[in-house]
């Protein structure tokens, strides 16, 4: 009487035949375009039909300097962690082009929502690098003024900031301003519901936001295949806005593609997803041991695509920079390292009472009560308790 009862049954496979998760999986056809590249790993300038950029020698040297100094700062921070000055460090090694390229595409009035690894972007925004180290040293949870440089605090809970960026961009549109907003996140983050919701909200409200995904191939120990079975830039399409994959180790391409996406946002055309295809050269953080899960060869292959070396080759080949420039930069790097080192070592521990500060903007009776109790308790040691009891 019903279709169910008469519908032809496919013969079942013997239940002994185990179907593994990927058995017989036919990957959907995806017309995977070349990633946008303007500078080859060998440092040769190539053209791209859609994205181009024309930079002066000075600008090119500027980008190079940014990357070198960012790497230097990053290396110093890693060293400081080893020396016990920092509790943790999340290195951006290998991702300098993605961060400097996108960071230098921004205008002052644009707003940045970073993850915890955007030290290069912070650099472009003019955030004092030593400010970034407070949270890794354990003296604060961030603590710089986001509005000083339009650079929001680092966000550790994966994906959350993409919604903040979207809301901020909605506000920009409401204000009738033509600034843009950029949200950084990783390949792993692409799986979080919040990121999908930010795609939905930004598309529906046509918010002027650029989603900049640094696909560094790893989310701690998990390769990108654990997050998606098609290239990540394609995710945008199904939400109704364009996605583009760019060579994340090519600072020129990252600059060009991000600038174009930001301009699109300014023109009121809504969000864009940029997937910067790059590589995390180091450990996830200083707490991580990548030898547990990935082969040395992989890293070696990516070393050949180093973002700094390729721009250096280009600068040298084209005669855009001379030995003096490189020497000067070397000295500047050392000075930066020294400054950071000294600043961190001099960074005071927070006052104990800071526990109770800024919990609320308008105060809270319980915080006041606990603050007073704590102060009295601390004072009781100062007065009388023998040192051992402390």
């Amino acid at each position: 009487m019903t279709v169910e009862s008469t519908a032809a049954r496919k013969p079942r496979r013997s239940s002994g035949t185990k179907r593994t998760a990927s058995a017989g999986a036919k990957k959907p056809q995806s017309s995977e375009p070349q990633l946008v590249q303007l500078l080859t790993p060998e440092g040769e300038r190539v053209q791209h039909p859609e994205y181009d950029i024309d930079l002066t020698a000075e600008e090119l040297r500027g980008l190079y300097r940014d990357m070198v100094l960012t790497r230097r700062f990053d290396a110093e921070a890693t060293a400081l962690q080893r020396q016990g000055e920092l509790g943790l460090w999340a290195s951006l090694l290998g991702q300098e082009a993605a961060q400097i390229g996108s960071g230098r595409a921004l205008r002052d009035d644009d707003y940045v929502f970073p993850t915890y690894r955007e030290h290069g972007v912070a650099w472009c925004r003019g955030v004092d690098p030593t400010n970034l180290l407070g949270m890794f040293r354990g003296v604060n949870h961030g603590g710089w003024d986001p509005n000083s440089n339009n650079f929001h605090l680092y966000t550790i809970v994966i994906g959350s900031q993409t919604l903040h960026a979207t809301g901020y961009a909605m506000g920009v549109a409401k204000d009738g301003a033509d600034s843009a907003v950029i949200a950084y996140f990783g390949d792993g983050a692409s799986s979080q519901g919040d990121v999908a919701e930010s795609f939905t909200f930004s598309a529906v409200y046509n918010a002027p936001v650029v989603f900049f995904c640094q696909n560094n191939q790893w989310a701690i120990s998990e390769p990108t295949e654990k997050q998606t079975r098609v290239p990540l830039y394609q995710r945008a399409q199904g939400f109704g806005f364009p996605g583009v994959r760019v060579d994340g180790n090519d600072v020129l391409a990252c600059l060009a593609v991000t600038r174009s996406a930001l301009e699109r946002a300014r023109r009121g055309e809504g969000p864009t997803l940029v997937e910067a295809f790059t590589y995390r050269m180091g450990a996830h953080t200083t707490s991580d041991d990548p030898t547990k899960y990935r082969a040395d060869e992989e890293r070696a292959a990516w070393e050949a695509k180093d973002p700094i070396l390729r721009l250096k080759a280009y600068l040298e080949n084209e005669g855009h920079a001379d030995a003096a420039f490189f020497e000067e930069l070397e000295a500047e790097s050392e000075a930066l390292g020294k400054r950071v080192r000294e600043a961190v070592r001099a960074m005071p521990d927070p006052d104990h009472m800071a526990i109770f500060e800024n919990v609320y903007a308008d105060g809270h009776a319980l915080v006041d009560e606990e603050r007073a109790q704590f102060a009295a308790y601390q004072a009781s040691f100062a007065d009388s308790a023998p040192e051992e009891a402390k």
Binding site: E197, Y360, H364, A365
Partner: protein
């Protein structure tokens, strides 16, 4: 005349209207808050008068609603977010707990998040699952949030004004079964402080402390007790974080007995915190342990059982009797 008799929902509506009029940065966001005016009509007519730019129908995604509200607040707006029902706040819980509550401290005070999250809560309306819960304890435990709940129209009006004006995130629990209860609102009165409790009935033998939907039940219980010659004081706590312990202490020092009443499950509920702290503050005053009346440690039951599940007049009176029997 600034004094009107309004249903609680209408008082909220008037309060939102006032906020939209007074401060161009105030926004209303949520599911169905626009043309429909919200499933309880609390935002009725606001989109029509203030436009889609200020009264915003959002996609169906609570994390997205709160997350973008945070972004809007960072841009200088004051979003008032509506969660459609208590049970649907949980998809937004991560944004509320890890971001909304902590961002001010994370920034060492350099940014402020004046976001109000309005949540119609509690049972008694014969609804299906997820539409009758009282999750306030899950927010009060989290530092960085303020949690309040009005019990009458005047408080609904004024406390919402104050919540919107607050530079802190406020979780604003609306007693949905009282939405249709009318009481007087004076829109020109000088309101009390947002986080202060109020004695709504004087008494000498025992204190009943409640907030939101249970205040009415406690007043009824006090009236019933009066008939038996027991003088019961009723405190409307109004705020769950912070709790106005001073006011409770003052009352208990007089009555020497305390019963705390809420719809939420007793286990790990507000009553626990109040009992623990008041016992510590009033150890030598209490003639009886602080008793708690609330929901059971069970999912909110189907509608045909809610009368048994919810603390009603009898269960409150039973606790009053038990306390007085010590």
């Amino acid at each position: 005349m600034a004094v009107q008799k309004l249903p609680l929902a209408k008082a909220l509506n008037e309060s939102l209207r006032k906020a939209l009029e007074t401060d161009p940065k105030v926004l209303i966001m949520g599911e169905d808050v626009g043309k429909l005016g919200g499933v309880f009509r609390v935002t009725d007519g606001l989109q029509k008068d203030f436009g889609e730019d200020r009264v915003i129908d959002t996609p169906l995604a609570e994390s997205g609603i709160v997350g973008t509200a945070i972004g809007l607040a960072l841009r200088g707006y004051r979003p008032v977010v509506e969660i459609q029902f208590d049970g649907f706040v949980f998809p937004a819980y991560d944004q509320i707990v890890t971001q909304l509550a902590k961002m001010h401290a994370r920034a060492l005070g350099k940014i402020k998040l004046p976001v109000v999250v309005r949540i119609p809560y509690g049972g008694g309306i014969g609804a299906v699952e997820h539409h009758s819960e009282s999750p306030e304890a899950l927010f009060a435990h989290v530092a960085g949030l303020k949690v309040v709940s009005p019990s009458n129209s005047s408080d609904a009006y004024w406390m919402l004004q104050q919540a919107i004006q607050s530079d802190d995130p406020v979780i604003f629990f609306e007693p949905k079964r009282r939405y249709w209860d009318k009481s007087e609102v004076d829109t020109e009165a000088i309101p009390g402080e947002l986080h202060k409790a109020r004695v709504v009935r004087d008494g000498t033998d025992l204190t009943l402390a409640a907030y939101g939907p249970m205040v009415k039940v406690c007043l009824e219980a006090a009236a019933a007790a009066q008939e038996e010659g027991k003088s019961v004081e009723v405190l409307d706590l109004r705020s769950v974080s912070p709790v106005d312990f001073d006011a409770i202490q003052k009352s208990v020092e007089k009555t020497r007995r305390l019963v705390v009443v809420h719809e939420a499950p007793v286990f790990f509920g507000s009553g626990a915190e109040i009992a623990a702290r008041i016992t510590e503050r009033c150890f030598y005053h209490l003639e009886a342990p602080v008793l708690r009346v609330g929901g059971y440690h069970a999912p909110y039951p189907p509608a045909r059982l809610e009368e048994e599940y919810l603390p009603g007049l009898d269960r409150v009176l039973d606790a009053v009797d038990r306390s007085l029997a010590y």
